[in-house]
Amino acid sequence: MSLDVKNLVVKRGDFQLSADFSLKRGKIGVLLGPSGCGKTTLLRSIAGLEPIETGNIILDGARIENLPPEKRGLGFVFQDLALFERMSVRKNIGYGLAIGRVPKSARDEKIKALARRFQIEHLLDRFPAELSGGERQRVALARALAPDPALMLLDEPLSALDAPLRREMRRFMRVSLTESKLTTIHVTHDVEEAVDLADEIVVMNRGKIVGKGTMSVFAARPDSGWLARFMNLGLVLPVRDIRVLGGSRTIEASSSSGEKFAINDANDHSAHAAIDARRIYIPFSALSVSDAARHGPTLTARVVRNLAISPTQGKVVFELVDMEQYFFEMPAENVGAWVLAHAEGDLIELAVDERYCQLIPEDAQELRGRE
């Protein structure tokens, strides 16, 4: 089923959340943002667990914002999983079916089918306290899926797992949810998890949606400096001065360290912002280790951690010499064969391909506010 969230406003004391987005049938949407940005509140509002001020939540054409949670027909997996500790796994999975008065034989059949699918058949008579982290995840997911929800909502269900298990569960969830063609919203603050799971990413900050799309869309044109930094798409440098080069369609932007970048005016997405609110965005794909033959601006960086294991594997952490404590990571393949020859503390010159540079506002919301 498709989901439309229209002009939704939720207020909690001084905090206000506003959201407007859609998700197509069978797609997995990920709400991504830092802690406290309102993504869980948005998810809970969709589920009817938080009261809303205004707005509509439309599930397959039907408005559900005035229905109590039990009437919305949604599946919800909580961050702490919220398994019923005094019920066996079987009863946990069958809870929603029992509430829906599904006959016992059909209920047992469904529980068994789900348990088989989630490889937890042998755990059906155990209690949640006797399960491992991964097993608990599977039970929570099976329980939420059992009543055939119209929409699945996942509130950072993987956050308590260690890294390898988290990766494994991510793959498992992606496969399960895609197989069941269930429209899903997954909440996370982990960019890697978002990229791994999502058909579409909705980025939130300070109670507002600041970006919608896929990783490639964001990398090609991030709406704001904040978004580019949060998603580690490239370098974001403050602007000291901007001038249009005489008669051409090129803008010259000077970074705070004095380096000048000639940027095509079609790449200026921050024309309405004040100078101190504008940023030079340099995607990592525009950076390479400098060679003498190339012209154009360069940035001096110090190797902080060299985690490359081959010229194409691993990553290198740099610090920009001209900017205090500006750290960034680059995939080893962007650095090339050079990477193996350098140790921590070495200085290198990074050449910038100006064709890919853009001018963006630091905060797209503030810019929109001024507009």
Binding site: E70, D80, A82, P147
Partner: protein, 567 residues
């Protein structure tokens, strides 16, 4: 691991064992002293001329047991269990809705509702009884209110001097325990399980059954166990209101001691009482462990919602109910304290006359009683705090070292003695132990013995709640186990010690049972003054004295809460 640490883990200092054994002996000494004297009485009482030796002693003992009126014992036991069960049920019925409101909503009066937990500890039973007579009695304020709304005062017969009167007073005393204990637990229960049930199709009630109730039950059972025990050992309330309705085992003990001087019979009553008490304590400790292990997983306190709509109405209804039926009696104390009875030909007026009479009239008993209370209870509280700190620190150290755990468990069990053994028996035990039967010393010792387990339990919980990494950090920085305990852990639980000392003072200052049992006459404490004024039908002056006592213990209790808040 340093050599010192390894040594500590192997053998805790000898002084620790000596200290713990001393505490164990001290807590058991009065009981042993009493049983020794009672056994001697039992053997002497049935002695027949000419009989000697073991066979004679055995025959005497058999004659004593044969003389125990079985029907009276059974009747008292039945009444004790029935009134305790009914009181517990009523206290829970009133307390649980309050616990729900206090745990889940923010509203005006929430802090006051939680502060009512001070009532059982700040108000001696005699004051509460007086309050109930003044409010619920045939001539009480409720009767007058009944007349105001059109009823005829004589139609209001009251219900105080009956089974249900006892139950009502007990519920008044104990419902705040349910509110306080259950809400403290409820506040931490994550809402996610109930919410999960909602998203799976359950309505509010079914979601509560699946997601909240199973987690709440240990704390409800623990509160119920505690309330049951308090009611099981209730003395003054049953003595005053019981009358024809029946008597509890505790009252039987008092009567056997005071009016029949039958120590063996009181021992039998007490043994039955203790047997039941241990069953209750077993439930409490089991449920307490379950609650603690659950709460360790809960994390932070859940966000409370501002009460609105139907919830606001529920809050209002609950507050009105509590105000009319439970704060009313306390208000009656305040009103009566300032109501000066009509003298010959004069009219009743409001003023400070009752206080003036207590401060400046014949004997002017208020100030001496206040000083006696401060002196004796202060001493008892200090003693209780000292023993409580020593016991909790020793138990904690033994637990950490992994040695002497059996001794630590024995001390932990002995902390339950005040809840498991009749206070009358303990008071008489102290009397037998004190030189020349000096009651002041016996009073201080008996009250300290009642209060130290509260101190010890609360400090032990505070020590257990400390982050063990703090101690380990001190050790890695070079502190010896003793140094780390004194410089880090003891300092961190400093506020808890102050709060426990204040709590001990509140308990001992409000206690009238022990001085009454001891038949104290050399020093008159505030509860004793209250009792004397009530017996002389000087109710208004009794209320004035009660107000002073209530204010004193209430302020100390609130200071304790403040200390905990700040900490």
């Amino acid at each position: 691991m340093s050599a010192n640490l390894a040594k500590w883990r192997r053998t805790p200092p000898l002084i620790l064992y000596v200290g713990l054994i001393a505490i164990l002996v001290l807590s058991l000494a009065p009981l042993i002293a009493f049983v020794r004297v009672a056994a001697a009485h039992a053997l002497d009482a049935g002695a027949v001329a000419g009989e000697q030796g073991f066979n004679a002693a055995f025959a005497n003992l058999m004659r004593f047991f044969a003389s125990i009126p079985g029907s009276v014992v059974l009747k008292s036991l039945r009444f004790t269990i029935l009134q305790s069960a009914a009181s517990t049920a009523l206290a829970l019925a009133i307390g649980l809705p309050g616990a729900w409101l206090a745990a889940r909503f923010d509203f005006r009066g929430r802090r006051i509702l939680l502060a009512l937990a001070a009532i059982p500890f700040c108000f001696p039973p005699i004051l509460v009884i007086l309050a109930f007579i003044l409010y619920y009695g045939k001539e009480g304020m409720l009767s007058q209110l009944y007349a105001l709304v059109g009823g005829r005062p004589h139609e209001y017969q009251g219900m105080l001097y009956s089974f249900w009167g006892i139950v009502l007073v007990h519920a008044f005393y104990n419902f705040p325990i349910a509110v306080h204990q259950v809400s403290a637990h409820w506040m931490r229960i994550p809402s996610s399980q109930a919410e999960a049930a909602r998203t799976l199709g359950a309505g509010r009630f079914r979601a509560f059954l699946a997601g909240v109730l199973p987690q709440l039950l240990p704390s409800v059972a623990q509160a119920a166990g505690l309330i049951f025990l308090y009611c099981f050992f209730s003395f003054t309330t049953v003595l005053v209101f019981g009358g024809r309705a029946g008597t509890t085992l505790e009252v039987q003990i008092y009567q056997a001691l005071r009016y029949q001087s039958n120590l063996p019979l009181s021992t039998v009553y007490s043994a039955i009482e203790t047997l039941f008490a241990f069953a209750g304590i077993y439930v409490i400790t089991r449920k307490s462990d379950a609650r603690k292990s659950q709460m360790a997983d809960y994390g932070r306190i859940q966000r409370r919602a501002r009460a609105a709509g139907a919830e606001k109405l529920a809050v209002l209804a609950y507050e009105i109910f509590i105000a009319i039926f439970f704060l009313g009696p306390l208000a009656a104390i305040v009103v009566e304290a300032f109501r000066v009875p009509a003298s010959f030909g004069g009219a009743t007026k409001f003023g400070l006359g009752n206080f003036s009479r207590l401060l400046g009239g014949f004997q002017a008993p208020l100030i001496p009683a206040l000083i006696s209370t401060l002196k004796l209870s202060g001493l008892a509280a200090l003693l209780a705090t000292f023993f409580g700190v020593a016991a909790s620190a020793s138990i904690y150290s033994l637990e950490k070292s992994g040695r002497g755990v059996a001794l630590a468990r024995a001390i932990e069990t002995s902390q339950w003695l005040p809840l498991a053994v009749s206070p009358a028996i303990m008071a008489y035990g102290w009397l037998f132990l004190s030189s020349n039967h000096t009651t002041s010393y016996a009073l201080v010792a008996a009250q300290a013995a009642i209060a130290w387990p509260f101190v010890s339990r609360s400090l032990h919980a505070a020590l257990r709640a400390l982050n063990p990494k703090v101690r380990e950090a001190a050790r890695t920085l070079g502190a010896t186990p003793l140094k780390s305990f004194v410089s880090v852990e003891l300092r961190m639980i400093g506020p808890s010690i102050a709060a426990s000392a204040a709590f001990a003072f509140s308990i001992t200052a409000g206690d009238a049972n022990v001085p009454l049992m001891l038949g104290m006459n050399e020093h008159e404490t505030l509860p004793l003054l209250l009792y004397r004024l009530t017996s002389a039908y000087r109710f208004n002056e009794a209320c004035a004295a009660g107000l002073v006592l209530g204010l004193m213990t209430g302020i100390v209790f609130l200071l304790k809460e403040k200390v905990i808040d700040v900490a």
